[in-house]
Every structure is written in structure tokens, then in C-alpha cells.
Symmetry: C2
Subunit: 411 residues, 2 copies
């Protein structure tokens, strides 16, 4: 527990904003500072450190079976703008703590163990989510590196070059043959805290689909057009949005969010001619996610029908729901039971680097509670005690995977 607290104390000064929040972007001075500290701590823990072509930092301890696919744990360094001190970085520091403790206890493993600190998971600097792990999974669109810029107009390639990386070599970051990837993260939601539980064993990362819906009507003077003559898309949009919670609740774990809405021409005394809003919908089961999308579309079409015009329906990228590996989930549950920690199975409503690592091998995730379920804000907080329980669960799983070779990775 001591090392975890010390590491958090050291790291909490980096990227701190005057108002109490944090911003740690990819390929920034802040990232370099954290990587420097991590390198030191990894080496002290018995790991050999390297940075890959994408700027992800890896620490590794070889195993007796040097060519066996490694057991990897970790998460990401970067934060959203005005975010907190726990999202991502906890999975890196906590993962390293677990690895440090198991090495101290047991020495060299049978299967190699690695700790990874991904860059650019949040997409807060360059608008590419999961960037570092995409590079590792080989699923990056490399054109983005020359065209996408941060708010100051600096391309990804230029930013990389400033921290000694070469965007042309990005393919060197691609890996294959991962034995298992276990990611630890704060929950970012209220479920564990409100149920008084210590650990969330993730069974799936929800699929996400976002749309922009536009409903059309007829703009008109707010005073001169009687109600009966109106074709008011504000009313249609409201009727549709008011029905979304029922759609979501009928699917159990589904969620539907309307985070943005705007009217045109956007004047107090004018009936809008069009109203647009975004829909973000998620479910841990891909088929049900798609059913929710169909239900949302059908409700929108139904409510906009009196306008006499087809709705606008713009689809944004779609993330497929991803199940965690059954064996790893079982390992995590067993560890909780053996350690006497209360836990529940839970789906992750947010995306994680685990989505990319699932392309390379078996994946599992565990959550620890965070205060009031808040994340991506300065109030984000997890206690050292709660985080330490996660470390112990992870350590127990690493023992099974790397020292007892539960997955039989030496074949």
C-alpha cells in the first residue's frame, strides 16, 4: 500500500491545473515527466523498460518460458481536459504495484509479465480515442497522423517528433500473441459505491452507438401561427426524447443519453424550422444495442411524422459490445472470494484500451469504486484503501496466470 500512495503523491503534481483538475495530453511535457517516473519505478520493481514507436511505455520481466505470450496489465497515462487524477493512471500504477509485489514474493515468473502505460486513450488532444492501444493492435488509421491536429494546429506527427518519436515508424508498435491483458480502472459510475462493494468484475464493455437526429417542421412567427397550424419540430423532439428512458429501461442494462440539442433559427420568438440532438446509446450485448438503436430511430420517425418530412439521421462510429474472457472473469471472481472482498459482476459503460487488446488475446477488467461515481472532472477520487484491494485482486490473478500458468501458455 505504501508504494501506491507514494507513487500517487509524486504523480499528483504533474499536469495539475489551478482549479484542482488535471490535463495530461499525449506527447506533452507532462506525459514525458510521468514516463520518466514510471521508468524509474518499473526498473526498481525488476522490470526492463522500453518505449514503443507510438509512445506507449512497457516494463517487462522475462519468464522461464521466454517465448510464451505475456501476461500484461496496465492502462493509460493521458487524462481528459479538466479531468481527475485516477482515470487511467490508476490502472498503470496499480498494475505496477501488483507486479512489484508478486515479484518481491515469488521472483521470476514462468510466463513473462508486462506493465503497459498507453498514450492517448482519451483522445483529449487529437480526437482519436484509444490511440496508443490502436497502434499496438494495428488498427490505427495512419493518415490521421498527418492530418489530425490539436487545438493549436499541431499534427500528431509533429507532436510525436517533439518527444523523439517518428510517426513513419508507427507500425513498429504493433504486437501479437498476448497471453492475457488485465486492466484495472476506477468504475466511473456509482454502482459499486452505492452498493457498498469493493470490486467490480467486468463481464463486458458496452457497445456504443452515437447518432445526430434532425427533425424538421416549418419555421414561423411565435405569435401569428395558431397551434393547430404548426409543424413544430421542438415538440416532436421533446416527445421523442421523453420516451427514450422507457426504451432503455426495457432492456435492463441499456442507457440512452441526449447530451446536445439545438434549434434553428434559434430565436425566442420563432417556431423552429429544425431541431437537432445527439443520441448516445449503449448496451453490453451487441444485439440488444442494435435493437435499442432501431427502437430510438422508430420513436424519432413516429414523433416527427406530423412534420411531413423525413428525419435526418447521421451515424457516428459504432463500437461493438465486447465480452471479457470467461476464464479471466472467473479468476477475478475467485480472487475476490479468496481475499474476502465483496464484488459484483458489472458491465463497463465506458470504452477502454481493453477493447483493442481483445484483438490480440484474452482480456479481463476489474473496477474499484470512485467517490459519488464521478469521473472526467476535478472531483474524481478513489481512496488508497479501495485501490489497494484492486491491486491485491490483480496480484492474485497474476500469480495464477504467470506463476501457476493457469491458461497453459507454455504449449
Amino acid at each position: 500500500m505504501k508504494e501506491l500512495k507514494q507513487w500517487f503523491d509524486s504523480i499528483s503534481k504533474i499536469g495539475a491545473l489551478p482549479d484542482g483538475g488535471y490535463y495530461r495530453g499525449s506527447y506533452t511535457q507532462e506525459e514525458l515527466e510521468i514516463q520518466e517516473l514510471l521508468t524509474k519505478w518499473m526498473e526498481k520493481s525488476g522490470l526492463t523498460v522500453r518505449k514503443d514507436a507510438a509512445g506507449n511505455l512497457w516494463g517487462r520481466i522475462d519468464g522461464e518460458f521466454e517465448n510464451a505470450p505475456p501476461i500484461i496489465t496496465g492502462s493509460h497515462i493521458d487524462s481528459v481536459r479538466n479531468g481527475g487524477n485516477y482515470d487511467g493512471i490508476f490502472g498503470v500504477l496499480g498494475g505496477l504495484a501488483a507486479v512489484k509485489r508478486i515479484i518481491e514474493e515469488k521472483g521470476k515468473p514462468i510466463i513473462p509479465i508486462e506493465v503497459v502505460a498507453f498514450t492517448g486513450e482519451e483522445g483529449s488532444r487529437f480526437s482519436i480515442g484509444l490511440m496508443g492501444s490502436h497502434a499496438v493492435a494495428g488498427s490505427l488509421d495512419e493518415d490521421d497522423f498527418k492530418t489530425k491536429t490539436d487545438v493549436n494546429g499541431i499534427t500528431i506527427a509533429e507532436a510525436m517528433s517533439k518527444v523523439g518519436l517518428d510517426a513513419n515508424k508507427i507500425k513498429d508498435a504493433v504486437r501479437d500473441n498476448v497471453g492475457a491483458y488485465l486492466e484495472m480502472h476506477i468504475e466511473q459510475g456509482p454502482v459499486l459505491e452505492s452498493s457498498g462493494l469493493s470490486i467490480g468484475v467486468v463481464d463486458a464493455i458496452v457497445g456504443t452507438q452515437q447518432f445526430r437526429v434532425t427533425m424538421y417542421g416549418e419555421a414561423g412567427h411565435a405569435g401569428t401561427v395558431p397551434m393547430a397550424n404548426r409543424k413544430d419540430p421542438m415538440v416532436y423532439a421533446s416527445r421523442a426524447i421523453a420516451r427514450f428512458p422507457e426504451i432503455a429501461k426495457n432492456t435492463g442494462d441499456g442507457v440512452i443519453t441526449v447530451g446536445r440539442i439545438w434549434a434553428k433559427p434559434d430565436a425566442e420568438n420563432v417556431i423552429p424550422g429544425e431541431v437537432s440532438f445527439t443520441v448516445d446509446l449503449r448496451h453490453p450485448v451487441e444485439e440488444i444495442k442494435q435493437e435499442i438503436a432501431l427502437a430510438v430511430k422508430s420513436v424519432c420517425e413516429e414523433e416527427a411524422l406530423p412534420g411531413g418530412k423525413e428525419i435526418g439521421w447521421l451515424e457516428f462510429p459504432n463500437n461493438i459490445a465486447t465480452s471479457m474472457d470467461d476464464k479471466l472473469t472467473e479468476l477475478l471472481e475467485d480472487a475476490c472470494k479468496n481475499l474476502g472482498y465483496s464484488y459484483k459482476k458489472i458491465s463497463s459503460g465506458a470504452g477502454h484500451d481493453t477493447l483493442n487488446m481483445a484483438k490480440l488475446g484474452k482480456v479481463g477488467m476489474l473496477f474499484v469504486p470512485c467517490k459519488d461515481g464521478r469521473s472526467h472532472c476535478p472531483e474524481e477520487f478513489a481512496s488508497i484503501e479501495d485501490m489497494n484491494k484492486g491491486v491485491e485482486v490483480l496480484k492474485s490473478c497474476l500469480n495464477k496466470l504467470a506463476y501457476e500458468n493457469t491458461l497453459n501458455l507454455t504449449n
Copy 2:
């Protein structure tokens, strides 16, 4: 009918925008050009022309009873930005046509007749609605003249000085003792056209109340907060807005419009912490207008209750519903009947200079149909034939009021 067509033909070149719309602001070159034409046409029609201290143009023919309070007709010159060629200017040209015709037929009246071309009714340049008629009614806030500016930072006083007016003398524009004010206007709504009627005899100008409502909840991650744990003001706002049409319809002539809406923090993947929207509500009967406002507030409070926070309720200026004079309304109806024009009583959903003239004497209004009920846009259109029927009704009323002295204004 000939003069009306000629005048519209001449005027339709002034303030015309490349895309087919019009912009005629107060104290602009466009206004001066129109005033120059009007002066010529007024003088040819037998009127003596003067411009008052606010920049309103008046043409007058004395009556046998020179000191009797005058019969006035007219409307405003200015247009909204990207507006049409009929709103306002029709009441000026049509009023002048009626006066011209009755003078040609009957010569000098018993009661003086005046035609007025108000400036600044729309508030499109300086954000003060009914500015010219406020000056005449003595209800202007004179400080505005030194502080309020157009989009280029020019104050009203500076703009006035560029067209030869002195803002310090604005009080000279105040009048009293008006015998009757009759304003003719395009309907700006679809009622007359869709009922196939020629004339709308206005019985009241609706009262208007605008609010800005803010509903609060708890911002959160769109993926990690289960539906049951959410306090989502987007849902509350939608439920409330979806109920407004029913409130309006229950009051007969009431209308409720939500023209603007926005969420904070305004991100696709964040449950909003607050949602704000505007409400514009109108009814021709002041008491009912106030009842609608109470009902809207109560629905908003009820729907926002699960958020656990009081709604924000910002009141904007309130226009009191104004009834037209019964005798003038009767005169207008009789004129329609005698001329064989179909008509109906109708309330005006928009405000007009008539609201200010009602402070000085008896007022009446009549509407003619406009195409598809559209106004404040380039598509705004009224046919010469339809407008001419309005002119004939107005002429008939001027005959009663100024030549037959129906209101007995010589006492």
C-alpha cells in the same frame, strides 16, 4: 389600385438584398430614400409633410375643424434583417392610397387626416421594438439613445445625427390628443388565407410573456451511470415541452413556443447537468395569458422535481394584451359588409405600433392575407388585389371618421 402598384414597384428596389430579401434599418440611406419617395407621393396626394424629432414621417390634410384630434393611419418603414417587402410598408403605402382616394373623391375633411410612416418598429437595427411610436407616445427610455448600438457599435444618437436628427430633441416627437389610429398590416399568419377570407378585423393584440427556464440535474458519463441513478434535465425539459401544446390548446387562442434550447456541458457522451430553453407565450386576453404563464411554470416545476433542484426562471419584459376600440372595430366590420368582402375577427399575435398609439387615443387594426402566412422572410408576399381590398375598407372608415365625424370629434 394603380397608385398602389406603382408605389410598390418603386419601393421594391430599396434595401433589396442579393438573395431576394430586404433590410431597411432605422436612420439609414434606405430609410431616407423611402422617406423621399413618400414625401413626393404625400404631397401629390394633397398632404403637408413633416418629419418629427424621432424621424417619423407625417403627412397631413387639415380639416374644417382644425383643432379636432386627427384621424391617423399608417405603419412603419423598417424591416427585419432578411425580411420582406410588405410588413409595415404596406400599412404606410396602403394608408396613403386610402387617404389619396378619399381626398380625390371628397376634398377637405371635417376632421384632419394624417398618414404616418414610423421608424424602428422592428428593432432590427437597435434592439428597441416600436421605437418610433414609443417616441410619439412619450414612452421611450431616452438613455437607450446614448447606450444602445447597432452591430457596428454606432449609438442611436450617432445614427440619428448622420440623418440630420438630434437625439436631445426626441421629446419634441411626443403627441397627444389622437382622434383615432387605424393601422393596416399583412396578417403574418395563415388564418385568412387558409379560410379564404379577404380581411381580418383585429379585436386585440395578444399579450406576450417570455421566460428562460433552466432545469438542473446531475451531469454524468453517458456510459457509466445506469438509467435508474440518473438525474437528467434533458428528460425533464422534454417532458415539460411536450406538454405545452396541450396547455395552449386548452385556452383556445393561446400559443406557446420554445424557440431556443441548449444543454450544458453540451457533449455527446455526457448526461447534461442543466438544460435551458426559452418560452414565448401569448394570448389576446391578459388574464388568460397570465394563467398560461402559471400553467407553464407549474408544468416545468413538476417535471423538474426528480432533479431535486429548483428550476431557474428568468422573466423577460411582458407585453400586456391590448383590446382594439369597439367602435372602430364595428366601423371596420361594417365597411367589410358594405363592400362585400369576407372577413373575420382575429387577434394579432404580433405586436404593432398600434400598442403605443393606444396610449394616445382609440385604435383599430385590419389585416390582409399574406402568402402561406409567411413573414419576416424573403418569401413574404401579398397580392395587389388583396392589399387593395384593405385600402378600400380603410378608405370607407376614413370617410366615416373624417368626413362624417362618426366619433363626434368636434366637441
